[in-house]
């Protein structure tokens, strides 16, 4: 597929987008607040529409679609700022497991929820890994994973070992696994995982190159989904802000009549278009099995900056009202903070890209000499 073709959604992809937009538009801000970190009803509705299996093979009840459709769906999820672990379970875990030919039927039908640990979310994996040493009947796992997107409803974990040369699939009830729950800045559920002890032999589902390829696939899908989620969030934050400016008055005229505020709105739109472009690029670059890191680092960096800039300026444009929990905008702001952390922050993404650029420059220096 060329990029131009990619820009024109297929009929099937278009249907996903329309359904997602319609469904998400029916979810009110109050609904989302009420549900806390997870609404079982919404998870079931998503299952009914087949979305948990978007990336899964038809054999496992999946739709067999790709990053294009995923991107549109995640934009709708971002717009509605749904807190469910869709990216964690239905994108990273389903995508990774599908790449390994694993059974994902329970994840697809919504009866199970999985969480990636040590890879994918955050998309640079995070600061601690789990070490596995071969034991008598399987492996002994030890060490901690500080950030894992999982809540009380999570039924299984997909755990990457440090270095990425092993991938374990572990049920929640695995002995030696301690789960400490805490909340994310945007209200969703997170946990710290601690491993200590042996796990059954069949828990190790991939090793070596196969594990690394599957982890890379999960990470690629995560970047693409997070970019789309952030783009939807930015889009909605922009809309909330323009509506507020049109509605509220100060000094006897609508806020939207002040040129300085109008120009800040213009900058929101520029950031939004940059995000949309990067979300398109992220999805396109994720459309095969290659490693799009050289593009995805730029996507992460640019979208993190847009998220930062739009979040902060949307609050500023709301004035004092933007500081209140009552207004939706603060919730979108916090979601954008969460998404930046998951994408490694602009500084981290640029650092990753800079490492590659430094290598390029070094190679050119050698060629020139």
């Amino acid at each position: 597929m060329t990029f131009l073709e990619h820009l024109t959604p297929s009929d099937e992809t278009g249907m996903i987008r329309d359904a997602a937009d319609k469904w998400a538009a029916g979810i009110s801000d109050a609904d989302v607040r009420r549900s806390g970190g997870f609404a079982p009803g919404r998870w079931s509705e998503m299952a009914a529409m087949g979305w948990h299996g978007l990336l899964a093979d038809p054999d496992h009840g999946g739709l067999g679609l790709g990053p294009d459709a995923l991107s549109l769906l995640c934009q709708a999820i971002g717009r509605a700022r749904l807190p469910e672990p869709f990216v964690a379970s239905s994108v990273v875990c389903v995508g990774t497991l599908t790449a390994l030919g694993q059974d994902v039927t329970a994840l697809v039908d919504g009866s199970a929820i999985a969480a990636p640990a040590g890879f994918g979310l955050p998309c640079d994996g995070g600061p601690s890994g789990v070490t596995a040493t071969a034991g008598a009947e399987g492996h002994n796992l030890s060490d901690m994973i500080d950030i894992c997107e999982s809540g009380p409803d999570t039924s299984e974990f997909l755990v990457a070992t440090a270095g990425g040369d092993g991938l374990f699939r572990l049920p929640r009830s695995t002995p030696g696994l301690t789960i400490t729950h805490y909340g994310a800045i945007d209200g969703r559920n997170l946990a710290r995982l601690s491993f200590d002890g042996p796990v059954p032999a069949d828990a190790l589902i991939a090793t070596g190159d196969a594990a690394r390829a599957a982890i890379r696939r999960g990470t690629t899908l995560a970047v693409s989904a997070l970019a789309a989620d952030a783009t939807g969030t930015i889009e909605k934050a922009t809309e909330l802000t323009t509506a507020y400016l049109d509605e509220r008055s100060q000094f006897g005229k609508p806020l939207a009549a002040f040129q300085s505020l109008r120009h800040m709105v213009a900058d929101l739109l520029v950031e939004l278009e940059a995000s949309r472009s990067m979300a398109e690029l992220a999805a396109f670059a994720a459309s095969d099995d290659g490693d799009p890191k050289h593009l995805h680092d730029r996507v992460r960096a640019r979208i993190c900056r847009a998220a930062q800039s739009v979040g902060q300026n949307a609050i500023q444009l709301h004035g004092g009202m933007g500081m209140t929990d009552e207004m939706a905008i603060g919730h979108y702001f916090r979601r954008l903070i969460f998404l930046q952390a998951m994408m490694g922050q602009e500084a981290g993404a640029l650092r990753d890209r800079a490492t590659t650029l430094a290598r390029d420059i070094e190679m050119q220096r050698e060629v020139a000499q």
Binding site: T180, I185, Q250, Q308, F333, I337
Partner: protein, 418 residues
């Protein structure tokens, strides 16, 4: 001039900064006294919590104010006759910087910096006798009723009314963004007493007790999910006649007088200096594997840049306080300070959050409980940093948004009126 030398590397981080270089020996000795007093006056646990970005509790503030008051340092800027210290501007700057540098609770501005000066300047003898002692002793907590829903930066459009009923005014209306109203004992506020051709006319200032019947306080939870702001409703509240401050209809003038005092006190350079030290500490915390921030040119440039900004701000503040011929005018100075300091405070908070990397994803008590420490940092350091980042977005909003400050500055430099 004192010898200009580089940092004394052995000393604890918070001891060292270059303001010291700008001071003479007397001021440096004064600074040491203040520091010793402050550290003795506030338990280390409290100072740690505040340093990490959490708000002081009412009892922490009250304890601190009691000790300050015993030392006679509650209101350094007041005239000596009313209980001030007689310090020079620079002593006051050093004192205020030390409050932040030592992460003590801070002196709530509403009594000491805001209504106090209005009362001793424009109030009746009875008002001075009634209200000043409670401010000086730290016993009375005050709050400010200026902003109203829909008025925001446009204070003059307020709609709260105080109807003259002879022996009292009958107050009806609503205030918003009332910081600490939920534990304030008294309030000062603006209300419309007369219709007037100019919007600013017909506004008067009142002081009254928060337990006056008819007052309801409703919390506003902020985007940091904490409660410090409130809405305050007035329903047929009877304000005694002697609650009127100064002349009826001149409330707008007193408010401008008061806000002018506010704007020079908001640079927060002490806290900023501390944040710079926190960033250095973060560079040693190894939060992201494989990344040594102390060798990362990009991080170090961010740090160097904000440090240079802060240095310029500190000097600008001194120039304004010294009232030198070549300093910014009384009209533009506060706006310059507010714009520059908002920029620096927000940049610092943002750099800290960025440097937290993925740990910026988690927040709240559950997060703090789930971690003993993160890298070399206590987990409440992370939680507090997010607190400060979130609530710190208000720095460019309250007391006149950045946009309002730019309007003011432009008016000073351009002849054209918009």
């Amino acid at each position: 001039m004192p010898e200009v030398r580089d940092h004394d590397h052995g000393a604890p981080a918070e001891e060292r900064d270059h303001i010291d270089l700008l001071l003479d020996d007397d001021l440096r000795a004064f600074r040491r006294d203040v520091r010793a007093f402050l550290r003795g006056a506030v338990p280390e646990e409290t100072r740690n919590r505040i340093d990490r970005g959490y708000a002081a509790t009412k009892s922490e503030i009250a304890d601190f104010l009691a000790k300050l008051s015993a030392r006679g340092w509650t209101a350094p800027a007041w005239p000596v006759e009313y209980g001030g210290t007689g310090w020079t501007q620079l002593q006051r700057m050093v004192f205020s910087s030390e409050l932040a540098r030592n992460a003590v609770p801070g002196i709530p501005p509403f009594g000491v910096s805001m209504i106090g000066p209005v009362l001793y300047t424009f109030g009746t003898q009875a008002q001075k006798d009634t209200y000043l002692p409670g401010i000086l002793s730290g016993k009375d907590f005050w709050c400010q009723g200026f902003s109203e829903p829909g008025s925001g930066s446009d204070l003059a459009s307020l709609r709260t009314r105080a109807e003259d009923r002879g022996d009292h005014y009958l107050l009806n209306g609503q205030k918003i963004w009332t910081s600490k109203a939920h534990y304030a004992d008294r309030i000062f506020l603006l209300a419309r007493t007369d219709e007037a051709p100019r919007k600013q006319g017909g506004i008067s200032m009142f002081v009254l007790d928060m337990d006056t019947p008819g007052i309801t306080v409703k919390p506003i939870i902020a985007i940091d999910m904490n409660h410090s702001l409130n809405e305050v409703f007035f329903e047929d509240v009877k304000v005694p006649v002697d609650g009127l401050v100064g002349e009826r209809g001149k409330g707008w003038n007193y408010a401008k007088f008061l806000l002018g005092n506010e704007r020079t006190g908001i640079t927060n350079v002490g806290r900023c200096r501390r944040q710079v030290e926190r960033l250095k500490r973060l560079a040693r915390a190894d939060l992201t594997p494989g990344v040594d921030l102390s060798k990362d040119g990009a991080f170090l440039r961010d740090l160097a840049r904000v440090e240079a900004d802060l240095t310029a701000l500190e000097i600008t503040e001194i120039r304004i306080l010294s009232q030198g011929k070549n300093g910014p005018s009384a009209m533009t100075g506060p706006s310059v300070l507010k714009l520059a300091s908002a920029q620096i405070q927000q940049t610092l908070a943002e750099l800290i959050v960025s440097t937290l990397g993925l740990y910026a994803a988690g927040r709240g008590a559950g997060f703090v409980d789930a971690f003993d420490d993160i890298g070399d940092l206590p987990s409440d350091f992370v939680d507090g940093a997010l607190n400060e980042y979130l609530f710190g977005r208000s720095v460019s909003i309250y007391g006149g948004t950045n946009q309002i400050q730019r309007d003011i500055l432009a008016r000073s430099a351009l002849e054209t009126r918009p």
